[in-house]
Amino acid sequence: MLEVIFGNLDLFLFLLLMAVGYSCGTIAEKRHYKSIIRREKELIKLMLVNAEGHFADGAVNNSFLVSGSMVVSNDYFKRLLAILRNFFGGRVKAYETLIDRARREAILRMKEEAKAKGAHMIVNLRLETSTIGRSANKKNSVGSIEALAYGTAVVMNRP
């Protein structure tokens, strides 16, 4: 039995990495989505638009720039899935949740910053996504993406 394991060490290591990547990745993703949805519901009252907005004279007390960002990477399992998908073409489902999570998290962090500073709304939201490091499919690379959200937080003069 031990001989079999040592003889096929590379194969077993690969399968182990796959299993670890899959289980940890799935658990982390579920937990993250749960927290995203909870916080989204909490912050839903904070108005967020990507229009510039026009304000009447004297309506605005203060305005400032807020931003939020997140760098995420895929797990071993999903990366393999993406590599395989690369061959056949089509929808790369393995990356859908990754980007979705990163972007929603970035917006949430921006909103949290705005709320902490007492803003009533965020106008002119801009979103950006960029890859950090080398391409995700190359070997030995730390492939990851950054989602950035920024906008202008506005504090109104409220009676």
Partner: protein
């Protein structure tokens, strides 16, 4: 303007398929593709190899294995000649001009290279105890030439590796995985090819020496050295124990006489020891 916040539970940006299901589909498709490719390539390689004239192979061998031509080994040459003289008159092997080299290497092994080059590692000669045993190994290699196994192996292994690199790129993890797999499965001859070469070698041995003594000695020693069977999932080499059994049943079936094998000649014994500095390193 009225701002009405809405929260929806549906996520339109994410597909509903389960990742494991997707993996199954992808891997299944990949395996199917690889299987089809392997079969097509295998069949074409085998068909093409049978059609390649021996002259073309000799030309190929001259251009790619040129480094082997310089130092032919006289003592091994005489032994090979004895086998060649006993080939049937219509054997395709007569079209080759064989060369045989002794290469300094501890491993007890011999190789058949394209163009009629046989390489014998000095470890084999050192361990060999009889003329018959050595003749069996040489005859076995001649069997690979007779069946054109060396060309088939080259065709398949190279074809698959090149295909994997073309499809996935040189650097990607998957093509390294694939080429490792192919190297493991294609670097040796197949079980069928080995036993065909054994059969050929046995016949030639009996034709040359008049009996089948010493035919299984080499494998018996390999078994003793290697010990128990170590299973490797990716390997397809026949185990020496199986080959011994097969050879013995062949000897019984054909009623070949088994006599005492002749001890190794002095000309070879003296050669394996002092002269070896002359042997140059050969790319393996």
């Amino acid at each position: 303007m009225k701002f009405t916040p809405k929260h929806i539970d549906e996520n339109v940006n994410v597909s509903k398929t389960h990742p494991l299901g997707e993996l199954a589909w992808l891997v299944g498709g990949m395996l199917l593709l690889a299987l089809v490719f392997y079969l097509v390539l295998g069949v074409t390689a085998d068909l093409a190899v049978a059609k390649i004239p021996i002259k073309a192979e000799v030309w190929l061998g001259e251009h790619f294995v040129a480094s082997f031509e310089a130092n032919e080994d006289e003592a091994l040459r005489r032994r090979l000649q004895r086998l060649l003289d006993n080939l049937p008159a219509d054997s395709p092997l007569h079209q080759y001009t064989f060369t045989v080299q002794l290469v300094k290497n501890e491993e007890a092994n011999a190789l058949a290279l394209p163009g009629g080059h046989i390489v014998v590692f000095s470890g084999l000669v050192e361990q060999a105890e009889s003329e018959n045993e050595l003749a069996m190994v040489l005859a076995h290699e001649l069997g690979h030439f007779a069946h054109r196994d060396h060309l088939k192996r080259l065709g398949r292994g190279l074809g698959l590796t090149v295909a994997a690199i073309l499809v996935f790129g040189e650097d990607s993890a998957i093509s390294r995985l694939m080429s490792n797999l192919f190297l493991a499965t294609e670097s040796g001859y197949s079980r069928q090819q080995e036993s065909d070469a054994d059969r050929f070698g046995l016949e030639l041995l009996v034709n040359s020496f008049g009996h089948a003594g010493g035919a299984t000695d080499f494998f018996a020693r390999v078994v003793k050295k290697a010990g128990r069977r170590v299973p490797y999932l990716l390997a397809s080499h026949p185990h020496p124990e199986d080959r011994i059994e097969e050879l013995q049943s062949l000897i019984r079936e054909n009623g070949y006489p088994v006599e005492k094998s002749a001890p190794l000649g002095d000309d070879l014994l003296s050669e394996t020891e002092p002269e070896q500095e002359a042997e140059t390193a050969v790319d393996q």
